[in-house]
Amino acid sequence: MRNIFIFIRIYFNFLFFLFLMGLSLFMLFNYNRYHHTVYSAVTGEITGKINKRFNDVEYYFQLKRTNDSLVKANESLYNKLKQDLELPDTITKLSIDTLRIDTLLYQRKYLYLTAKVVGNSVSQTNNYLELHRGSRQGVIADLGVTDINNSVVGTVVDVSSDYSVVMSLLHRQSNISAKLKKTGETGSVIWDGLQPNIVLLKDISKEVKVSAGDTIITSGFSDKFPYGLLIGTVKEIENDRASSTYTIRLKTAANFYNLQYVYVINNLQKEEPQQLLKKVKKTNE
């Protein structure tokens, strides 16, 4: 017993070092797995406030660029108005697919919330955005996030009362279901941690004809994003002889260097398919 105490006294510094190192490594691996911890809500609130101060200044220098992209977004919306389209003859009919419930009301599936980006990084291996919108404003975890031109930015992973943390596409664990617009093949979009604004599209079979410049959109399979949001365009195609699928490099449609505003997409009909899926999994077990 005495020897143990002597041992502890002699090596106390080293043991203390091991304890602190263990603590930080535990924090690291724990957060990487769950993206939510007891303290992350508190620290998110504090860093959010500091980031907000900094962003108030930075935002001023980006006003012009933000304004330009808003005008562009508005233009594309105006071009989608029904009154802009004319019917060439009386046989064809312009019809809009509407999902109705038993009354004459439309049933809303996606609700867009605008949010100010207060913190953003592109140079890390795991990049996160911080938004000035939190649980009080209706943000919850696992919602999709798009930029002002409605192209994919990332997924909400952690929420505090006024701020939320978004895992951007530029994150090692980001995985988004995507589709080739031209032919309809689905794959998944990941990031290799190298260049910002370049992501990888995997699992596209080699039988598909892909060429540079092709559009990649969201598949609508996940409950985060509606079908058809722009993810990016094909930059180059890597033909790996050893595998039967292509690895395609995409240029992201969203510019991660200067995000100022984003939209958080809340899927209001998320629960029903989830419960159904759970039920199926249960019966199969």
């Binding site: 070092f17 602190l20 992350s40 291996t125």
Partner: protein, 177 residues
């Protein structure tokens, strides 16, 4: 200015510079992510106990982690260099009694060559451990080695500039005073 207030200001400044300047600057290349915030640990007084230095290092790393949302990543690397710091100081200090005559490690108290060996070794250890932990998730020896070397080089350049721009006034203290 008392040592406590000076170090509190340094702590805040290093974190703010790291978060809002170095992390915001578009990277030269994706292998280059410079860090200088850990200079805070290297500049702590000689007399400070090892456990205090380690706790401060954990706190410094954790503060940066709160901004980059990598809880524990920088904290682990900072604790490692805080633990190794006294060994290096004992090895490299050349002047007799420099620990008692000067307050903290600097060019003046240790001499240019020993001080920069001290900074370079700890920078390399900090960066290699940091990128090793990152590489555990992403993989790739090549990526890890190249990123460590290039980032350390740029970090050391920035540290050298910091030392030249902000000369720390060191008073020579004697026992009689």
């Amino acid at each position: 200015m008392s040592s406590l207030i000076k170090n509190i200001i340094r702590f805040a400044l290093f974190i703010l510079v790291q978060v809002f300047v170095l992390n915001q600057v578009p990277p030269l290349h994706h292998f280059v992510t410079p860090y200088i915030y850990f200079l805070f640990i290297l500049w702590l007084p000689f007399k400070m106990g090892r456990r205090t230095v380690m706790v401060l290092a954990l706190f410094l790393g954790f503060s940066l982690d709160c901004f980059t949302k990598t809880y524990g990543l920088h904290a682990a690397s900072c604790v490692l260099i805080a633990y190794l710091r006294p060994f290096l100081i004992n090895l490299l200090i050349s002047q007799e009694g420099a620990e008692s005559n000067y307050n903290e490690p600097s060019i003046k108290s240790m001499g240019f060559a020993p001080y920069f060996t001290y900074v370079a070794i700890l920078t390399l250890i900090h960066h290699s451990f940091l990128f090793f932990l990152e590489a555990l998730q992403s993989g790739g020896y090549f990526y890890f080695i190249l990123k460590t070397l290039l980032s350390s080089a740029i970090s050391l350049l920035l540290i050298l500039l910091t030392e030249l721009l902000f000369v720390r006034k060191q008073r020579f203290r004697t026992n009689t005073a």
